[in-house]
Amino acid sequence: MSIILNHVSHIYSEGTADEVRALDDVSLEIADGEFLGLIGHTGSGKSTLVQHMNALLKPTSGQVLYNGEDIWAKGSDKARIRSKVGLVFQYPEYQLFETDVFTDVCFGPKNLGLSRVEAEARAYEALERMNFPKERWYMSPFDLSGGQKRRVAIAGVLAMKPEVLILDEPTAGLDPYGRRELLDMLKGLQRDEGLTVVLISHCMDDVAGYADRAVVMEKGKVFMNGTPAEVFFRHRELEEIGLGAPSVTYIMEKLAAAGFDVKTDVMNVEDAAKEIRGCLRI
Protein backbone atom coordinates (compact mmCIF):
# COMPACT_ATOMS: atom_id res chain seq x y z
CA MET A 1 0.00 0.00 0.00
CA SER A 2 2.83 2.39 -0.59
CA ILE A 3 2.94 5.61 -2.55
CA ILE A 4 5.96 6.10 -4.74
CA LEU A 5 6.79 9.35 -6.49
CA ASN A 6 9.25 8.74 -9.27
CA HIS A 7 11.08 11.85 -10.50
CA VAL A 8 7.97 13.97 -10.29
CA SER A 9 8.10 17.54 -11.55
CA HIS A 10 5.22 19.95 -11.72
CA ILE A 11 5.16 23.24 -13.57
CA TYR A 12 2.23 25.61 -13.15
CA SER A 13 1.11 27.63 -16.19
CA GLU A 14 3.74 26.05 -18.39
CA GLY A 15 4.75 28.10 -21.38
CA THR A 16 3.37 31.41 -20.08
CA ALA A 17 5.02 34.39 -18.46
CA ASP A 18 4.13 33.24 -14.95
CA GLU A 19 5.50 29.73 -15.25
CA VAL A 20 6.37 28.31 -11.83
CA ARG A 21 8.33 25.14 -11.22
CA ALA A 22 6.57 23.99 -8.08
CA LEU A 23 8.10 20.51 -7.92
CA ASP A 24 11.51 19.74 -9.28
CA ASP A 25 12.42 16.08 -9.74
CA VAL A 26 10.98 14.79 -6.49
CA SER A 27 11.45 11.11 -5.71
CA LEU A 28 9.91 9.85 -2.53
CA GLU A 29 8.45 6.70 -1.10
CA ILE A 30 5.80 6.63 1.57
CA ALA A 31 5.73 3.24 3.24
CA ASP A 32 2.64 1.48 4.44
CA GLY A 33 1.58 2.46 7.95
CA GLU A 34 4.12 5.18 8.54
CA PHE A 35 3.58 8.63 9.99
CA LEU A 36 5.33 11.07 7.71
CA GLY A 37 5.91 14.69 8.61
CA LEU A 38 6.25 17.05 5.66
CA ILE A 39 7.94 20.32 6.54
CA GLY A 40 8.70 23.31 4.41
CA HIS A 41 8.20 26.97 3.91
CA THR A 42 5.14 28.50 2.29
CA GLY A 43 5.67 27.97 -1.43
CA SER A 44 8.16 25.14 -0.99
CA GLY A 45 5.88 22.75 -2.86
CA LYS A 46 4.37 20.76 0.02
CA SER A 47 0.77 21.27 -0.99
CA THR A 48 1.52 20.66 -4.64
CA LEU A 49 3.31 17.47 -3.66
CA VAL A 50 0.41 16.00 -1.71
CA GLN A 51 -2.07 16.86 -4.44
CA HIS A 52 -0.10 14.53 -6.67
CA MET A 53 -0.59 11.68 -4.25
CA ASN A 54 -4.32 11.44 -4.84
CA ALA A 55 -4.40 12.36 -8.51
CA LEU A 56 -5.71 15.89 -8.08
CA LEU A 57 -2.73 17.20 -10.00
CA LYS A 58 -1.03 15.53 -12.90
CA PRO A 59 2.76 15.60 -12.87
CA THR A 60 4.33 17.53 -15.74
CA SER A 61 6.87 14.73 -15.85
CA GLY A 62 7.48 11.61 -13.78
CA GLN A 63 5.12 9.02 -12.33
CA VAL A 64 3.12 8.56 -9.17
CA LEU A 65 2.60 4.94 -8.19
CA TYR A 66 0.03 3.74 -5.71
CA ASN A 67 0.46 0.08 -4.78
CA GLY A 68 2.67 -0.31 -7.78
CA GLU A 69 0.13 1.11 -10.24
CA ASP A 70 0.74 4.30 -12.17
CA ILE A 71 -2.21 6.45 -11.12
CA TRP A 72 -2.18 8.36 -14.41
CA ALA A 73 -2.03 5.24 -16.56
CA LYS A 74 -4.82 4.95 -19.13
CA GLY A 75 -8.02 3.64 -17.62
CA SER A 76 -6.94 4.13 -14.02
CA ASP A 77 -9.81 4.77 -11.66
CA LYS A 78 -9.05 8.16 -10.13
CA ALA A 79 -12.17 8.18 -7.98
CA ARG A 80 -11.00 4.96 -6.35
CA ILE A 81 -7.52 6.35 -5.75
CA ARG A 82 -8.99 9.48 -4.18
CA SER A 83 -11.05 7.35 -1.85
CA LYS A 84 -8.00 5.31 -0.85
CA VAL A 85 -5.73 8.32 -0.45
CA GLY A 86 -7.74 10.80 1.59
CA LEU A 87 -6.65 14.43 1.48
CA VAL A 88 -7.86 16.98 4.01
CA PHE A 89 -7.23 20.53 2.88
CA GLN A 90 -6.02 23.25 5.17
CA TYR A 91 -9.27 25.15 5.38
CA PRO A 92 -12.29 23.12 6.43
CA GLU A 93 -14.40 25.98 5.02
CA TYR A 94 -13.53 24.73 1.56
CA GLN A 95 -15.43 21.52 1.97
CA LEU A 96 -18.25 21.99 4.47
CA PHE A 97 -21.51 22.74 2.70
CA GLU A 98 -24.37 20.63 4.02
CA THR A 99 -27.12 21.72 6.39
CA ASP A 100 -25.80 19.66 9.27
CA VAL A 101 -22.57 18.00 10.34
CA PHE A 102 -23.78 14.43 9.95
CA THR A 103 -25.06 14.87 6.40
CA ASP A 104 -21.84 16.58 5.47
CA VAL A 105 -19.75 13.67 6.65
CA CYS A 106 -22.03 11.36 4.62
CA PHE A 107 -21.06 13.18 1.40
CA GLY A 108 -17.83 11.25 0.84
CA PRO A 109 -19.19 7.73 1.42
CA LYS A 110 -22.26 8.55 -0.71
CA ASN A 111 -19.98 9.53 -3.57
CA LEU A 112 -18.41 6.09 -3.31
CA GLY A 113 -21.79 4.71 -4.31
CA LEU A 114 -22.62 3.29 -0.91
CA SER A 115 -26.23 2.96 0.19
CA ARG A 116 -27.69 5.51 2.58
CA VAL A 117 -27.48 3.14 5.53
CA GLU A 118 -23.88 2.22 4.83
CA ALA A 119 -22.91 5.84 4.29
CA GLU A 120 -24.54 6.83 7.56
CA ALA A 121 -22.82 3.99 9.39
CA ARG A 122 -19.49 5.20 8.06
CA ALA A 123 -20.25 8.79 9.01
CA TYR A 124 -21.24 7.65 12.49
CA GLU A 125 -18.01 5.74 12.89
CA ALA A 126 -15.87 8.60 11.57
CA LEU A 127 -17.44 11.20 13.84
CA GLU A 128 -17.06 8.86 16.81
CA ARG A 129 -13.47 8.30 15.85
CA MET A 130 -12.85 12.05 15.77
CA ASN A 131 -14.40 12.34 19.22
CA PHE A 132 -16.88 14.86 17.92
CA PRO A 133 -19.36 15.84 20.66
CA LYS A 134 -22.72 14.15 19.98
CA GLU A 135 -24.87 17.18 20.77
CA ARG A 136 -23.32 19.00 17.82
CA TRP A 137 -23.88 16.29 15.21
CA TYR A 138 -26.99 17.94 13.86
CA MET A 139 -25.80 21.51 14.04
CA SER A 140 -24.97 23.52 10.96
CA PRO A 141 -21.25 23.09 10.21
CA PHE A 142 -21.04 26.87 9.77
CA ASP A 143 -21.89 27.48 13.42
CA LEU A 144 -18.97 25.43 14.74
CA SER A 145 -15.68 26.74 16.07
CA GLY A 146 -12.55 26.48 13.94
CA GLY A 147 -11.28 23.37 15.70
CA GLN A 148 -14.63 21.61 15.45
CA LYS A 149 -14.95 22.45 11.76
CA ARG A 150 -11.57 20.89 11.22
CA ARG A 151 -12.63 17.70 12.95
CA VAL A 152 -15.73 17.48 10.84
CA ALA A 153 -13.59 18.00 7.74
CA ILE A 154 -11.26 15.19 8.78
CA ALA A 155 -14.23 12.96 9.63
CA GLY A 156 -15.61 13.71 6.15
CA VAL A 157 -12.50 12.18 4.63
CA LEU A 158 -12.12 9.39 7.20
CA ALA A 159 -15.65 8.25 6.43
CA MET A 160 -14.41 7.14 3.02
CA LYS A 161 -12.14 4.66 4.83
CA PRO A 162 -8.90 5.71 3.19
CA GLU A 163 -5.69 3.72 3.56
CA VAL A 164 -3.62 6.89 3.50
CA LEU A 165 -4.66 10.10 5.21
CA ILE A 166 -2.95 13.30 4.14
CA LEU A 167 -3.55 16.44 6.17
CA ASP A 168 -2.49 19.90 5.04
CA GLU A 169 -1.62 21.87 8.16
CA PRO A 170 -4.40 20.47 10.31
CA THR A 171 -3.11 22.19 13.43
CA ALA A 172 -2.96 25.73 12.03
CA GLY A 173 -5.00 28.06 14.19
CA LEU A 174 -5.64 25.54 16.95
CA ASP A 175 -4.81 26.25 20.58
CA PRO A 176 -2.08 24.08 22.18
CA TYR A 177 -4.64 21.76 23.76
CA GLY A 178 -6.65 21.26 20.57
CA ARG A 179 -3.46 20.74 18.67
CA ARG A 180 -2.26 17.99 20.96
CA GLU A 181 -5.63 16.33 21.02
CA LEU A 182 -5.84 16.26 17.23
CA LEU A 183 -2.33 14.92 16.81
CA ASP A 184 -2.90 12.24 19.45
CA MET A 185 -5.98 11.19 17.55
CA LEU A 186 -4.04 10.91 14.29
CA LYS A 187 -1.30 8.95 16.01
CA GLY A 188 -4.00 6.64 17.38
CA LEU A 189 -5.41 6.06 13.89
CA GLN A 190 -1.98 5.16 12.63
CA ARG A 191 -1.16 2.89 15.57
CA ASP A 192 -4.51 1.13 15.95
CA GLU A 193 -5.78 0.93 12.40
CA GLY A 194 -2.57 0.89 10.45
CA LEU A 195 -3.47 4.07 8.58
CA THR A 196 -0.63 5.78 6.75
CA VAL A 197 -0.58 9.42 7.83
CA VAL A 198 1.09 12.28 5.98
CA LEU A 199 1.12 15.45 8.01
CA ILE A 200 2.06 18.77 6.48
CA SER A 201 3.16 21.16 9.16
CA HIS A 202 4.91 24.42 9.78
CA CYS A 203 5.45 23.41 13.34
CA MET A 204 8.67 21.54 14.09
CA ASP A 205 7.34 20.45 17.48
CA ASP A 206 4.45 18.55 15.86
CA VAL A 207 6.71 16.68 13.49
CA ALA A 208 9.33 15.94 16.13
CA GLY A 209 6.76 14.62 18.55
CA TYR A 210 4.64 12.49 16.24
CA ALA A 211 6.28 11.58 12.95
CA ASP A 212 8.32 8.45 12.22
CA ARG A 213 9.99 10.19 9.35
CA ALA A 214 10.45 13.80 8.36
CA VAL A 215 10.77 15.15 4.85
CA VAL A 216 11.86 18.73 4.36
CA MET A 217 10.91 20.48 1.14
CA GLU A 218 12.69 23.53 -0.18
CA LYS A 219 12.10 25.24 -3.53
CA GLY A 220 10.31 22.24 -4.97
CA LYS A 221 13.00 19.74 -4.03
CA VAL A 222 13.39 17.25 -1.21
CA PHE A 223 15.90 19.00 1.01
CA MET A 224 16.15 16.40 3.76
CA ASN A 225 14.62 13.01 4.35
CA GLY A 226 15.16 10.93 7.48
CA THR A 227 14.03 10.28 11.01
CA PRO A 228 13.10 13.42 12.97
CA ALA A 229 16.29 12.95 15.00
CA GLU A 230 18.42 12.86 11.86
CA VAL A 231 16.67 15.83 10.32
CA PHE A 232 16.63 18.07 13.36
CA PHE A 233 20.22 17.19 14.16
CA ARG A 234 21.00 19.34 11.12
CA HIS A 235 18.98 22.25 12.40
CA ARG A 236 21.64 24.78 11.49
CA GLU A 237 20.94 23.98 7.85
CA LEU A 238 17.23 24.16 8.52
CA GLU A 239 17.67 27.61 9.99
CA GLU A 240 19.39 28.72 6.82
CA ILE A 241 16.27 27.99 4.83
CA GLY A 242 14.10 29.75 7.41
CA LEU A 243 12.98 26.70 9.37
CA GLY A 244 14.39 25.46 12.64
CA ALA A 245 14.35 22.80 15.30
CA PRO A 246 11.67 21.97 17.89
CA SER A 247 11.62 24.47 20.75
CA VAL A 248 12.84 21.91 23.33
CA THR A 249 15.99 21.37 21.30
CA TYR A 250 16.79 25.06 21.69
CA ILE A 251 16.11 24.93 25.41
CA MET A 252 18.46 21.97 25.78
CA GLU A 253 21.11 23.82 23.79
CA LYS A 254 20.82 26.81 26.08
CA LEU A 255 21.04 24.58 29.13
CA ALA A 256 24.15 22.92 27.72
CA ALA A 257 25.66 26.32 26.99
CA ALA A 258 24.95 27.37 30.57
CA GLY A 259 27.07 24.47 31.78
CA PHE A 260 24.51 21.76 32.45
CA ASP A 261 25.48 18.29 31.35
CA VAL A 262 22.56 17.51 29.03
CA LYS A 263 22.29 16.07 25.55
CA THR A 264 21.17 18.57 22.92
CA ASP A 265 19.68 16.24 20.32
CA VAL A 266 16.43 15.99 22.26
CA MET A 267 13.25 16.29 20.23
CA ASN A 268 10.29 16.14 22.56
CA VAL A 269 9.24 17.30 26.00
CA GLU A 270 9.26 13.85 27.61
CA ASP A 271 12.84 13.11 26.62
CA ALA A 272 13.87 16.60 27.65
CA ALA A 273 12.31 16.11 31.08
CA LYS A 274 14.13 12.80 31.46
CA GLU A 275 17.41 14.38 30.45
CA ILE A 276 17.02 17.29 32.86
CA ARG A 277 16.03 14.98 35.71
CA GLY A 278 19.04 12.82 34.98
CA CYS A 279 21.29 15.84 35.03
CA LEU A 280 19.88 17.19 38.28
CA ARG A 281 19.68 13.65 39.76
CA ILE A 282 16.04 13.96 40.89
Partner: protein
Protein backbone atom coordinates in the same frame (compact mmCIF):
# COMPACT_ATOMS: atom_id res chain seq x y z
CA UNK B 1 -8.14 24.77 -14.06
CA UNK B 2 -8.69 28.50 -13.71
CA UNK B 3 -5.04 29.39 -14.03
CA UNK B 4 -5.43 29.96 -17.76
CA UNK B 5 -8.16 32.55 -17.52
CA UNK B 6 -6.88 36.09 -17.43
CA UNK B 7 -9.25 38.85 -16.68
CA UNK B 8 -8.74 42.35 -17.84
CA UNK B 9 -6.14 41.36 -20.39
CA UNK B 10 -3.58 43.97 -19.39
CA UNK B 11 -0.28 43.54 -21.22
CA UNK B 12 2.70 45.01 -19.41
CA UNK B 13 4.89 47.09 -21.69
CA UNK B 14 6.53 50.47 -21.83
CA UNK B 15 4.89 52.38 -24.64
CA UNK B 16 3.32 55.68 -25.58
CA UNK B 17 -0.13 54.11 -25.29
CA UNK B 18 0.58 52.73 -21.83
CA UNK B 19 1.73 56.10 -20.54
CA UNK B 20 -1.37 57.97 -21.71
CA UNK B 21 -3.87 59.00 -19.08
CA UNK B 22 -6.59 56.35 -18.77
CA UNK B 23 -9.24 59.05 -19.31
CA UNK B 24 -7.70 59.87 -22.67
CA UNK B 25 -7.84 56.24 -23.68
CA UNK B 26 -11.39 55.82 -22.44
CA UNK B 27 -12.65 58.92 -24.24
CA UNK B 28 -10.56 57.99 -27.27
CA UNK B 29 -12.09 54.53 -27.46
CA UNK B 30 -15.53 56.01 -27.08
CA UNK B 31 -14.90 58.48 -29.91
CA UNK B 32 -13.47 55.69 -32.03
CA UNK B 33 -16.60 53.61 -31.57
CA UNK B 34 -18.78 56.55 -32.55
CA UNK B 35 -16.60 57.15 -35.60
CA UNK B 36 -16.97 53.50 -36.59
CA UNK B 37 -20.71 53.89 -36.69
CA UNK B 38 -20.61 57.18 -38.55
CA UNK B 39 -18.25 55.78 -41.19
CA UNK B 40 -20.27 54.36 -44.05
CA UNK B 41 -18.05 54.44 -47.05
CA UNK B 42 -14.87 52.66 -47.92
CA UNK B 43 -12.61 55.69 -47.47
CA UNK B 44 -13.79 56.31 -43.91
CA UNK B 45 -13.44 52.63 -43.07
CA UNK B 46 -9.92 52.63 -44.47
CA UNK B 47 -9.10 55.64 -42.32
CA UNK B 48 -10.37 53.74 -39.27
CA UNK B 49 -8.18 50.76 -40.11
CA UNK B 50 -5.12 52.96 -40.53
CA UNK B 51 -5.87 54.78 -37.29
CA UNK B 52 -6.14 51.51 -35.40
CA UNK B 53 -2.96 50.13 -36.94
CA UNK B 54 -1.06 53.20 -35.78
CA UNK B 55 -2.53 52.82 -32.29
CA UNK B 56 -1.55 49.13 -32.17
CA UNK B 57 1.95 49.94 -33.35
CA UNK B 58 2.27 52.63 -30.68
CA UNK B 59 1.07 50.25 -27.96
CA UNK B 60 3.92 47.76 -28.54
CA UNK B 61 1.52 44.92 -27.81
CA UNK B 62 2.11 41.94 -30.11
CA UNK B 63 -0.64 41.82 -32.73
CA UNK B 64 -1.36 38.20 -31.78
CA UNK B 65 -2.65 39.41 -28.41
CA UNK B 66 -4.89 41.88 -30.16
CA UNK B 67 -6.56 39.21 -32.21
CA UNK B 68 -6.83 36.65 -29.46
CA UNK B 69 -10.07 38.33 -28.45
CA UNK B 70 -11.38 37.70 -31.95
CA UNK B 71 -11.82 33.97 -31.28
CA UNK B 72 -14.59 34.72 -28.79
CA UNK B 73 -16.64 36.64 -31.33
CA UNK B 74 -15.90 34.41 -34.31
CA UNK B 75 -19.33 32.78 -34.12
CA UNK B 76 -21.21 36.06 -33.76
CA UNK B 77 -19.19 37.46 -36.63
CA UNK B 78 -20.01 34.49 -38.81
CA UNK B 79 -23.72 34.65 -38.00
CA UNK B 80 -24.07 38.38 -38.63
CA UNK B 81 -22.15 38.16 -41.86
CA UNK B 82 -24.28 35.19 -42.95
CA UNK B 83 -27.56 36.88 -42.10
CA UNK B 84 -26.51 40.06 -43.83
CA UNK B 85 -25.42 38.35 -47.00
CA UNK B 86 -28.54 36.26 -47.40
CA UNK B 87 -31.31 38.29 -45.80
CA UNK B 88 -30.71 41.81 -47.07
CA UNK B 89 -33.36 42.66 -49.69
CA UNK B 90 -32.09 44.11 -52.96
CA UNK B 91 -30.92 43.13 -56.39
CA UNK B 92 -30.01 39.43 -56.35
CA UNK B 93 -26.74 38.57 -58.00
CA UNK B 94 -26.79 34.87 -57.18
CA UNK B 95 -29.66 32.63 -56.11
CA UNK B 96 -29.77 29.07 -54.97
CA UNK B 97 -33.15 27.77 -53.88
CA UNK B 98 -34.54 30.05 -51.19
CA UNK B 99 -31.13 31.66 -50.65
CA UNK B 100 -30.20 34.74 -52.57
CA UNK B 101 -27.18 36.95 -52.33
CA UNK B 102 -27.68 40.60 -53.02
CA UNK B 103 -25.17 43.30 -53.77
CA UNK B 104 -26.55 45.34 -50.88
CA UNK B 105 -26.17 42.31 -48.66
CA UNK B 106 -22.54 41.83 -49.55
CA UNK B 107 -21.83 45.48 -48.95
CA UNK B 108 -23.53 45.63 -45.57
CA UNK B 109 -21.96 42.33 -44.51
CA UNK B 110 -18.51 43.62 -45.36
CA UNK B 111 -19.10 46.84 -43.44
CA UNK B 112 -20.54 45.03 -40.46
CA UNK B 113 -17.68 42.57 -40.28
CA UNK B 114 -15.22 45.42 -40.58
CA UNK B 115 -16.99 47.38 -37.86
CA UNK B 116 -17.13 44.43 -35.46
CA UNK B 117 -13.48 43.53 -35.91
CA UNK B 118 -12.40 47.15 -35.49
CA UNK B 119 -14.68 47.56 -32.49
CA UNK B 120 -13.22 44.59 -30.67
CA UNK B 121 -9.61 45.30 -31.53
CA UNK B 122 -10.11 49.01 -30.79
CA UNK B 123 -11.36 48.34 -27.30
CA UNK B 124 -8.64 45.70 -26.88
CA UNK B 125 -6.04 48.42 -27.43
CA UNK B 126 -7.51 50.19 -24.42
CA UNK B 127 -7.86 47.13 -22.15
CA UNK B 128 -4.45 45.77 -23.11
CA UNK B 129 -2.68 49.01 -22.25
CA UNK B 130 -4.67 50.05 -19.18
CA UNK B 131 -4.97 48.18 -15.89
CA UNK B 132 -8.55 47.54 -14.78
CA UNK B 133 -7.95 49.72 -11.76
CA UNK B 134 -6.87 52.77 -13.70
CA UNK B 135 -9.85 52.26 -15.98
CA UNK B 136 -12.09 52.41 -12.96
CA UNK B 137 -10.29 55.55 -11.83
CA UNK B 138 -10.82 57.09 -15.23
CA UNK B 139 -14.49 56.20 -15.17
CA UNK B 140 -14.90 57.71 -11.76
CA UNK B 141 -13.18 60.90 -12.80
CA UNK B 142 -15.19 61.21 -16.02
CA UNK B 143 -18.50 60.55 -14.33
CA UNK B 144 -17.78 62.91 -11.45
CA UNK B 145 -20.10 65.66 -12.79
CA UNK B 146 -22.99 63.24 -12.22
CA UNK B 147 -22.57 63.62 -8.46
CA UNK B 148 -24.51 66.87 -8.88
CA UNK B 149 -27.57 64.88 -9.79
CA UNK B 150 -26.93 62.60 -6.81
CA UNK B 151 -25.40 59.66 -8.65
CA UNK B 152 -23.06 57.92 -6.16
CA UNK B 153 -20.15 57.90 -8.62
CA UNK B 154 -17.44 57.20 -6.08
CA UNK B 155 -19.33 54.29 -4.58
CA UNK B 156 -19.99 52.78 -7.99
CA UNK B 157 -16.31 53.08 -8.87
CA UNK B 158 -15.31 51.56 -5.55
CA UNK B 159 -17.68 48.66 -6.07
CA UNK B 160 -16.19 48.08 -9.48
CA UNK B 161 -12.62 48.06 -8.27
CA UNK B 162 -13.46 45.77 -5.36
CA UNK B 163 -15.24 43.39 -7.71
CA UNK B 164 -12.26 43.39 -10.07
CA UNK B 165 -9.89 42.83 -7.19
CA UNK B 166 -11.84 39.84 -5.95
CA UNK B 167 -12.29 37.98 -9.20
CA UNK B 168 -8.86 36.31 -9.16
CA UNK B 169 -9.23 35.53 -5.46
CA UNK B 170 -12.60 33.88 -5.93
CA UNK B 171 -11.32 31.97 -8.96
CA UNK B 172 -8.48 30.56 -6.95
CA UNK B 173 -10.85 29.72 -4.16
CA UNK B 174 -13.22 27.92 -6.53
CA UNK B 175 -10.29 25.86 -7.68
CA UNK B 176 -9.40 24.88 -4.12
CA UNK B 177 -12.99 24.09 -3.20
CA UNK B 178 -13.36 21.90 -6.25
CA UNK B 179 -10.23 20.01 -5.31
CA UNK B 180 -11.36 19.60 -1.72
CA UNK B 181 -14.68 18.15 -2.91
CA UNK B 182 -13.00 15.98 -5.53
CA UNK B 183 -10.86 14.58 -2.72
CA UNK B 184 -14.18 13.52 -1.17
CA UNK B 185 -15.18 11.76 -4.34
CA UNK B 186 -17.30 14.52 -5.89
CA UNK B 187 -17.76 14.16 -9.61
CA UNK B 188 -18.47 17.26 -11.67
CA UNK B 189 -18.10 15.83 -15.11
CA UNK B 190 -20.47 12.95 -15.60
CA UNK B 191 -24.24 12.64 -15.51
CA UNK B 192 -27.05 14.52 -17.15
CA UNK B 193 -27.75 18.23 -16.84
CA UNK B 194 -29.75 17.96 -13.59
CA UNK B 195 -27.12 15.81 -11.95
CA UNK B 196 -24.38 18.17 -12.97
CA UNK B 197 -26.29 21.20 -11.75
CA UNK B 198 -26.79 19.45 -8.44
CA UNK B 199 -23.10 18.62 -8.21
CA UNK B 200 -22.41 22.36 -8.20
CA UNK B 201 -24.00 22.78 -4.77
CA UNK B 202 -20.93 21.50 -2.87
CA UNK B 203 -18.89 24.17 -4.68
CA UNK B 204 -21.31 27.06 -4.54
CA UNK B 205 -22.17 26.86 -0.85
CA UNK B 206 -18.56 27.13 0.42
CA UNK B 207 -17.83 29.75 -2.24
CA UNK B 208 -20.72 31.97 -1.19
CA UNK B 209 -19.99 31.51 2.49
CA UNK B 210 -16.41 32.53 1.86
CA UNK B 211 -17.39 35.48 -0.36
CA UNK B 212 -19.72 36.84 2.32
CA UNK B 213 -17.09 36.35 4.99
CA UNK B 214 -14.53 38.17 2.88
CA UNK B 215 -16.95 40.98 2.18
CA UNK B 216 -17.69 41.44 5.85
CA UNK B 217 -13.99 41.31 6.76
CA UNK B 218 -13.25 43.90 4.12
CA UNK B 219 -16.03 46.18 5.34
CA UNK B 220 -14.71 45.84 8.87
CA UNK B 221 -11.15 46.62 7.78
CA UNK B 222 -12.34 49.68 5.86
CA UNK B 223 -14.29 50.95 8.81
CA UNK B 224 -11.34 50.33 11.11
CA UNK B 225 -9.38 52.70 8.88
CA UNK B 226 -12.15 55.30 9.08
CA UNK B 227 -13.25 54.97 5.50
CA UNK B 228 -16.20 57.27 5.04
CA UNK B 229 -16.88 57.49 1.34
CA UNK B 230 -15.73 59.68 -1.46
CA UNK B 231 -16.17 63.18 -0.12
CA UNK B 232 -12.89 64.97 0.50
CA UNK B 233 -10.93 61.87 -0.33
CA UNK B 234 -7.64 62.29 -2.13
CA UNK B 235 -5.92 59.76 -4.33
CA UNK B 236 -2.57 58.08 -3.96
CA UNK B 237 -1.97 58.44 -7.66
CA UNK B 238 -4.08 61.33 -8.93
CA UNK B 239 -4.80 61.26 -12.63
CA UNK B 240 -2.86 63.90 -14.51
CA UNK B 241 -3.01 64.88 -18.14
CA UNK B 242 0.37 65.23 -19.81
CA UNK B 243 1.48 66.71 -23.11
CA UNK B 244 0.95 63.35 -24.82
CA UNK B 245 -2.70 63.42 -23.80
CA UNK B 246 -3.24 66.81 -25.43
CA UNK B 247 -1.74 65.48 -28.65
CA UNK B 248 -3.84 62.32 -28.39
CA UNK B 249 -7.05 64.34 -27.95
CA UNK B 250 -6.22 66.52 -30.95
CA UNK B 251 -5.49 63.46 -33.10
CA UNK B 252 -8.70 61.76 -32.03
CA UNK B 253 -10.87 64.79 -32.74
CA UNK B 254 -9.16 65.24 -36.09
CA UNK B 255 -9.85 61.59 -36.85
CA UNK B 256 -13.55 61.86 -36.01
CA UNK B 257 -13.79 65.04 -38.09
CA UNK B 258 -12.08 63.27 -40.98
CA UNK B 259 -14.50 60.35 -40.79
CA UNK B 260 -17.49 62.72 -40.79
CA UNK B 261 -16.13 64.64 -43.77
CA UNK B 262 -15.14 61.57 -45.79
Amino acid sequence: MFKDITLGQFYQADSVMHSLDPRTKLVGTFLYIIALFIANDAAAMAAAVVFLCIAIALSRVPASFMFRGMKGIALILLLTVGFNIFLTPGVPIWTWGPLKVTAEGLRSAAFLACRLVLLISGTSVMTLTTTPNSLTDAMESLLLPLTHIKVPVHEIALMMSIALRFIPILMEETDKIMKAQMARGADFESGNFMKRAKSMVPILVPLFVSAFRRASDLAMAMEARCYSGGEGRTKLKPLKYGRGDVVAYIVQIAFVAAVILL
